[in-house]
Subunit: 322 residues, 3 copies
């Protein structure tokens, strides 16, 4: 495929300095880009590399226009780059597959238009699958599930009974949505299993990485709200709520019934105990352990976590104790 | 379905105050329960909610009987609730499936009565499957495996060759039982792989969460004893022994050849190094790092872990160092 | 099968004291070995057990020859043991399967000689599979993948499009290779997904444990170099490079674009932030958090990590603060 610079400038809502008919066939980093490709410069730090690039055109911020090639001026060159990358990547996508004869569909499954149900997919009974949904090989979808339009389940993902998945959701390979919450009550010496009869609800535009586990509610629901992005190997326990647009990095664990606010960032390997409230816009440093609720807007670190600046001071003091 | 209050009181071994013929059709939390459902009160903290509930009946402890509706008096209302929940959940279960023609069975597989072998299951050669076992879609069972009665393997679980699984075991989706232990010996500059020829033995009434890894013994066995409950994303290395009724929370890692006693609790994200002995009834706080053996009955926290009360003191002192 | 002591001494490059025609039928630990099996002694610590063993022969180091049975003298008895174990384990392996009619092969798949493609395997289009490769049931291999000779993918492993896998690689069950890197750019309030168009390259003789996640490069590649051994539940983010022969223990997480040198050891549950350089031969203690680059040869511990000896001192001082 190819696109003109004029089309690309329009896509990224940038101002074009150069020939709008110039043909672009791809997008790449400064060092790899060829003369028919476009690259990008996010700031002065990359100016010298940008002067040496073979790229045919550049996306640049308003203050960095001194390059002798066609330029698209953008307030956010990295976003522009991502949008062009998405455009070229989509063109390579495979066509609509329909329903493979090697997939297993239960009774009373309702399929939307233009779905791609690959070989070795299993779908239980009474499940509804929206338009343009892709279920890759090895995907398991239980009974009474609802999957919204344009959602993608990657190979070997598991989506268990009665869960509700929104539109444009991506669930990566090996992830399990709707496993039983971890709940037992003592019966003398034995642990008596509390049946986990709730569900998982995942709202629109959520992405969940590979090999995560999102447990269903004991009763009620575990709820991942709109726009949340979850990295790999993350554990979300029963009845947790993760607020809109929050970011959860790899290997985080969130214990049962905890409520994470909106726009929260939990860095890698953070652990959060159960029944807490983490306020909006909270940031938590990597490997921190959260044992108390945190008011909105705070940045914390450490295990147990404290104010991030205090934690930095403590680390420094402890390192000088000898 | 429906049950009479008399039947439910008998099930939970409680004393009934009210009409034994009163009909109950379900069980729910205090806020969600309807007039034909039963709910429960664990203590005075929930008394005001209990006074407002629409539930048709309540399970209450002996000291909380001042409610104007039918009551079941129980020493452990939460256990009673769990038992009734299980009763109603079981009624909804699907019927016995038999063996799907879309499953693959190897040579010389012995199947018990009333098994449910779903489509896209793979079973290797010489494997024995007990009565009423359920193997969900995408389950892999290797050769020479033994699976006891009433055991359930959830979708996309993997159970590798020669492992031995007891009765009433539940293995959740994505979990791998019997992967190779991590063992290498230096051969000059290279790491020479030590063949892992042992097995995993899982005893009766064990439950293992989603996306866990339980490695086989290098030689001999990795052994999960009766009644152990393991949460999601837990790593159990080769030749580990986990004693009866122990509880292992999400994302814990246990290194090779360590022995965990009975009734131990390892909280989330704990790490235990290899070749240790953790005594009976030990409790380990979340994110702790265990580098030494721990005598029975201790409670420890921190990384490296120390006595839990000392750890609390240290956290307090360090926080005041500035 | 059986082998003579002479053959085994030749295999492990050891000196034989005893009858070279003595028949050995297996290998086992000192306590389990029977009179027709061989066992091994790594040092004086095990001498008393060795005097009581029923083993028919022993592999011993040069300084430990006082046993009244046939001996193989070896500088590294444990390596010798592993080599003999491998010999006996290989004999038990199943024969070449060919391509199951229950596997799904895409268009234009090129298969080498003597492959074993099991039932319920999925292979995409244009993928090349080397000689003697084994793809176990439930394995997903995407399109445009290259798999080198003698590589094994265990049941339910997932290998996504365009990845390149070397020779003699082992990828254990549930592991996902080539999932999207975790990359987003702010677009006003929303997180705009950066298409992940790179690949994963895994070189010869790498072994990756169960339920790991190895993300593809955003652009370019994530690169696991020759001889690297990775344990279970490890997260390797986009564009990470892991140098030759490095060892990564269970539940480690490595963030994007970090470069790990050669012969590095990352112990269990270590976290490494992004864009760092970890030098050759660095050792990192369990649960450490690495937030800065580390020069070659250092040993560090703690979160944040410091010199290992300083960390030991600090732990001791803090424990005495009360």
């Amino acid at each position: 495929m190819e696109r003109t610079l004029g089309e690309l400038a329009h896509l990224v809502e940038g101002e074009l300095l150069g020939d709008p008919e110039f043909k672009i066939t791809g997008v790449a980093g400064l060092e790899e880009a060829q003369s028919n490709e476009i690259s990008f410069v996010v700031g002065p730090k990359y100016a010298s590399k940008a002067h040496q690039t073979k790229a045919g055109a550049l996306i640049v911020p308003p203050k960095l226009q001194a390059f002798e090639k066609p330029l698209i001026i953008s307030e956010n060159p990295y976003l522009g780059f991502a949008k062009i990358l998405k455009l070229f990547a989509q063109e390579q996508r495979t066509t609509v597959l329909g329903v493979s004869t090697k997939a297993h569909l239960g009774a009373n499954v309702a399929l939307g238009d233009e779905v791609s149900i690959h070989p070795q997919v299993y779908i239980g009974n009474n499940t509804m699958v929206g338009d343009r949904v892709t279920l890759h090989p090895g995907v398991y979808v239980g009974s009474d599930v609802y999957i919204g339009d344009d959602t993608v389940l990657c190979p070997n993902a598991t989506l268990l009974a009665r869960c509700i998945i929104g539109k444009r959701v991506i669930i990566h390979s090996g992830t399990v949505v709707g496993s039983d919450g971890f709940g037992f009550v003592q019966d003398g010496k034995n642990h008596f299993k509390i049946p986990q009869v709730g569900i998982v609800q995942i709202d629109d535009d959520v992405e969940i990485g590979a090999n995560c586990t999102i447990d269903r509610g004991t009763m009620g629901r575990t709820w991942i709200q709109r726009g949340v992005k979850i990295d790999n190997l993350v554990q979300v326990a029963h009845n947790v709520v993760v607020g809109e647009d929050s970011i959860i990095i790899a290997q985080v664990g969130i214990s049962g019934s905890t409520k994470i606010g909106e726009n929260v960032i939990l860095a890698g390997q953070v652990g959060v105990t159960g029944h807490l409230e983490i306020g909006d816009n909270v940031r938590v440093g990597a490997q921190s352990g959260i044992a108390k609720s945190i008011p909105a807007g705070q940045t914390v670190s450490g295990s147990p976590a404290i104010d991030h600046r205090d934690w930095l001071k403590n680390c420094h003091i402890v390192s000088r104790l000898p």
